[in-house]
């Protein structure tokens, strides 16, 4: 009931997301590597630590903070039984992202995004659909290196977004951007693992609390 839902909101880190990763893990997974300075997006400059031999390096301390916020938010959404949709248009990781979503019990969309999927959902997906409550972008660009349409559509439909933004991405409309590498397999595997663990933890806690509530 109300206590079940309002109690977690009091704590700054109810699901203890900080212990899921460390700065060293991020560094080993090559999350700090960005694109070359020619591809740099203007709005990503605050998140960039520096530039080495023409390649941008992302500030991992900021990344750690943003990632902790993002994972915390995802865990809260999963605790409140929200629908989470993983989006990534990177063909290399399409299979991985879909398997992660399936493992969590959540949903994925790593294929061609049909125009009115969110904005015209009642016509395209059927009347009375429930839209996703959170969109998680593991790569916020599409195959033509433009911002994914879903970012703008989610903003239109008031759906919060969590997204991994690389140095050539636009972090503007994403609610919880996570500056980091979205092209290395090691980095993407790390993100998938972290999101999966956060969601699974949140769901387990919810189930435990419901059982305790019933017993009392």
């Amino acid at each position: 009931e109300d206590r079940l839902l309002s109690e977690p909101l009091g704590h700054p880190d109810f699901f203890n997301v900080k212990e899921l990763f460390s700065l060293k893990d991020l560094f080993d997974a090559r999350v700090h590597l960005g694109h070359k300075k020619g591809c740099r997006h203007r709005f990503m400059e605050p998140y960039i630590f520096g530039c080495r031999l023409g390649q941008d390096i992302i500030d991992l301390e900021q990344t750690a903070q943003h990632l902790q916020l993002a994972l915390n938010f995802t865990a809260h959404v999963a605790y409140r039984k929200g629908i989470i949709l993983f989006v990534s248009r990177n063909r290399q990781f399409c299979h991985l992202v879909e398997s992660t979503a399936r493992a969590c019990g959540e949903y994925a969309h790593t294929r061609y995004w049909q125009g009115g999927l969110l904005t015209n959902a009642h016509v395209q997906l059927g009347p009375g659909v429930r839209l996703p409550d959170l969109l998680v972008f593991l790569s916020s660009l599409n195959n033509v290196f433009e911002p994914h349409v879903a970012i703008r559509d989610a903003a239109k439909m008031n759906i919060p977004t969590v997204g991994v933004v690389d140095t050539n991405c636009n972090p503007c409309l994403i609610t919880y951007p996570v500056p980091g590498n979205d092209d290395s397999p090691a980095a993407v595997e790390l993100y998938c693992k972290l999101f999966r663990m956060a969601i699974v933890r949140a769901k387990d806690k919810r189930r435990q609390r419901e059982v305790f509530g019933e017993l009392q």
Binding site: K81, I83, L85, C94, H95, E98, S99, A101, R102, G105, E106, Y107, A108, H109, R111, Q114, L117, H122, V123, Q124, L125, G126, P127, V129, R130, P132, N158
Partner: protein, 350 residues
């Protein structure tokens, strides 16, 4: 400031664009229960045993109790199992709390994309196996018996039927490319079973052709009978072995019956094709049609009769030459307002 929380009245629902109404699982289950109850009632009414009342009996009973003279079969009263009446596509895809059942529901084509996901997973497994084999330096696997040339992949229509979704040509070609990639690599038994679901056997035409055995008459000469037709002509032919090339049509010699060279050439064609011109005797009876169609009918009949004398390869050659196919062309009727079947009346400008 745009209002976010508006009443249902303010948000105009495009009722027509929403598509046909969808059914829940519970609704379908209830329909099935009602159907089974109704089946038992009907069996009792007809005085039959409720346990052994089949669908055919139901159809007959309904046709008896509710006679209908309507032309269209689909408009007549029918009683069928609900799974046949309520199409699969229309079931609602999410549960009570609103969460969709399929993890790829939000893509718009869940069954197709989950098929691609599975197939790609299999392909990755196969590639991993291949890498492991090459790392462990196993001897290269013997050439496995690949899909025999007598099989083909499913067509786009068949795949659409299987998935109950509309596909585009691009989607279909992508899927076939994936399957072809997998076939090229050394795959195992699981993958073979999976791929068999998407391949169909092509039954070669030759298996359909029935070759009758030779019959022997009193003198011990082998003969074979066959029938043929062309336009309105019907011919029956008996081909005898150990002959000298004599052809008798309706009791008369072929030279007398067919004065035109073209018709006699048509008679000769099957024998000439098989290099058996002066080895067989032929006795034919033909009726109907004109001279050309009678010749064509006898040709078809003699080719069919010769099938029994000849090897299977030569039968296949004859089939490919068109000697064994019935010519389906018939006279087209004359239409009113035109002078003939196609010819229109002379058009006068004024």
């Amino acid at each position: 400031l745009r209002l976010i929380y508006t009443t249902a009245v303010a948000q105009r629902k495009n009722v027509a664009a929403a598509g046909p109404e969808k059914y829940t699982e519970a609704f379908i289950k209830k329909q099935i229960e009602e159907f089974n109850l109704g089946k038992r009632h009907l069996a009792n009414m007809m005085g039959e045993d409720p346990e052994t009342f089949t669908q055919e009996d139901i159809d007959k009973a309904i046709a008896y109790l509710f006679p209908s003279g309507l032309f269209d079969e689909r408009a007549r009263p029918m009683m069928k199992h609900p799974t046949e009446i309520f199409p699969e596509k229309r079931k609602i895809q999410w549960g009570e709390d609103g969460r969709p059942f399929h993890f790829l529901f939000y893509t718009g084509k869940p069954s197709y994309y989950s098929l691609m996901h599975e197939t790609y997973g299999m392909l990755l497994n196969v590639q991993e196996n291949q890498d492991q084999m090459s790392v462990q330096d196993f001897p290269p696997e013997k050439e496995k018996s690949k899909n025999l040339p007598g099989s083909r992949w499913l067509t786009k229509m068949e795949l659409e039927e299987m998935l109950l979704e509309n596909l585009s040509d691009h989607d279909y070609s992508r899927f076939i490319q994936l399957l072809q990639k997998m076939v090229a690599l050394p795959y195992g038994a699981d993958e073979e079973k999976y791929m068999k679901k998407f391949s169909k056997e092509i039954v070669s035409q030759l298996q359909k052709v029935v070759i009758e055995p030779l019959q022997y008459d009193e003198r011990g000469v082998a003969f074979s009978t066959a029938e043929g037709q062309r336009k309105t002509a019907r011919a029956t032919v008996v081909v005898y072995d150990n002959g000298s090339g004599k052809i008798t049509v309706n009791g008369v010699d072929a030279l007398r019956y067919f004065p035109v060279l073209q018709d006699r050439e048509q008679l000769m064609f099957p024998f000439q094709f098989l290099d058996r011109i002066e080895k067989h005797d032929m006795v034919c009876t033909v009726s109907g049609g004109g001279r050309s169609s009678q010749a064509g009918a006898i040709r078809l009949a003699s080719a069919k009769a010769l099938k029994s004398f000849v090897t299977e390869k030569e039968v296949e050659l004859m089939r490919q030459a068109g000697l064994l196919t019935v010519d389906p062309r018939l006279r087209e009727r004359k239409k009113p307002g035109q002078e003939g079947a196609r010819r229109k009346f002379t058009w006068k400008k004024r």
